[in-house]
Symmetry: C2
Subunit: 259 residues, 2 copies
Amino acid sequence: MLQLGEIDRADPRPPYRQIAAMLREAIESGGLEPGAKLPSEAALMEHFGVARMTARQAIQELRGEGLVIAEHGRGVFVRPMPPVRRLASDRFARAHRAAGKAAFLAEADKAGYQPGVDRIRVARAGAPKGIAERLRVEAETEVIVRERRYLANGRPVEIATSYLPVPVAGGTPVEDVDPGPGGIYARLEDAGHTLERFTEEVGARMPTPDERNALEIGPGVPVLTVVRTAFDTEGAAVEVCDTVKAAPAYLLEYDFPAR
Amino acid sequence: MLQLGEIDRADPRPPYRQIAAMLREAIESGGLEPGAKLPSEAALMEHFGVARMTARQAIQELRGEGLVIAEHGRGVFVRPMPPVRRLASDRFARAHRAAGKAAFLAEADKAGYQPGVDRIRVARAGAPKGIAERLRVEAETEVIVRERRYLANGRPVEIATSYLPVPVAGGTPVEDVDPGPGGIYARLEDAGHTLERFTEEVGARMPTPDERNALEIGPGVPVLTVVRTAFDTEGAAVEVCDTVKAAPAYLLEYDFPAR
DNA sequence: CAGTGGTCTAGACCACTGA
DNA sequence: CAGTGGTCTAGACCACTGA
């Protein structure tokens, strides 16, 4: 059973922070292993002699650090660390497309997790400003919009939205829910747009509530944002892919010359 | 004056989330500009007819997203956005070193902010495990350790620690606090280690309390972590640079071929 | 000093989980 | 059903800010 100390009135930290510190210490020392259940709010109230909101505030602190996850009706648990996906910059190599694998599936193969894709939606809509700039079209020009969510071992890890100009991919299997072997990049090459290079713009921020829901992450877990633009051999931008990834699940690798 | 709506009892979202959503909307639409003061808790209670803890919970939500900063005794303010540094993958180009500029100074020139470096410390110490692996030396091998903090317009934006093998840079100006024009990469090339390529591993997480202090960021602001390894033309790893950046201040750009 | 956010109490009703 | 966390109320005392 977990041993916790007591609140020290001489400690300058308020009680809720002291409680949070004791629980954090238990997690970091391994006294509470990943997946383990924390004492319930009722148990914390009893043990420390505090009101419920004070116990809750301590737990809120740990949620904010991403250390624990609260599950309604079940309890609060130490967050299990997700398997980290290392994304190398050769993940869009033509060899994979030729082998009939979309980038996400090729990675899963390499890293040994079970890949999944759901919430696929394909539509046409006006291009948002930032997207239009990258595609070098007027804002609000109608483009193909492909949304989807990626799962690793059944857990959502990334949401992605691709934008493609209608003259590039209109009427091709890119507009189908299942674009077929090799994914949309393979279909773009089928349509005569041989891919030459990509740029990626990487940032990080806290997720919006919608993103938190879609990625099933608690408050206190940041997201990595990656905006990728694909260029064909003519130098034309043929796709912009806007992705939001659960940060703890990713490590992005890039390789570049010293020139 | 800021116009806010009312709580909708038919809305499935609880009142505190509705209030948070209205405030978020005001911030994102520009109704509340960066630096602007949010309505006080008392004003929110009055306007929405809720208890104080409900108003506070709405504000907590926005703090967790890093959108606002609470200042005790003053109020809650929309977080002013720091100038974003776009880091292109040509930032270590030899042309800059030849021109006598270290990478950070070259960027500042381009982006038009006032660069600064402080808290420089140079020492020798045992290589931590992850660093030793990247340098391909035994763990705990003595290496040169260079720490420093970077500032943009006087505000800290990045802390960085470089590790270099003693056989590569021992006794060179790399061990001086000021390594001279072009920075340590120029000195490595002077010492015969012509740089060939870099790899960067990018991730994001919440900062530790020490990192929060060094970067002067509040809770609710994530950091980007970048571990860069420099390779010379012999294929040897000659430096590993471990950096922690305030996420809102950065956008990293990478360019890679479709192969 | 008045106004602000920080912390805390002691209660209430609710929705969700799993035996 | 008992146990859990989610939301909310109406109060209290406090420390900090700035006029």
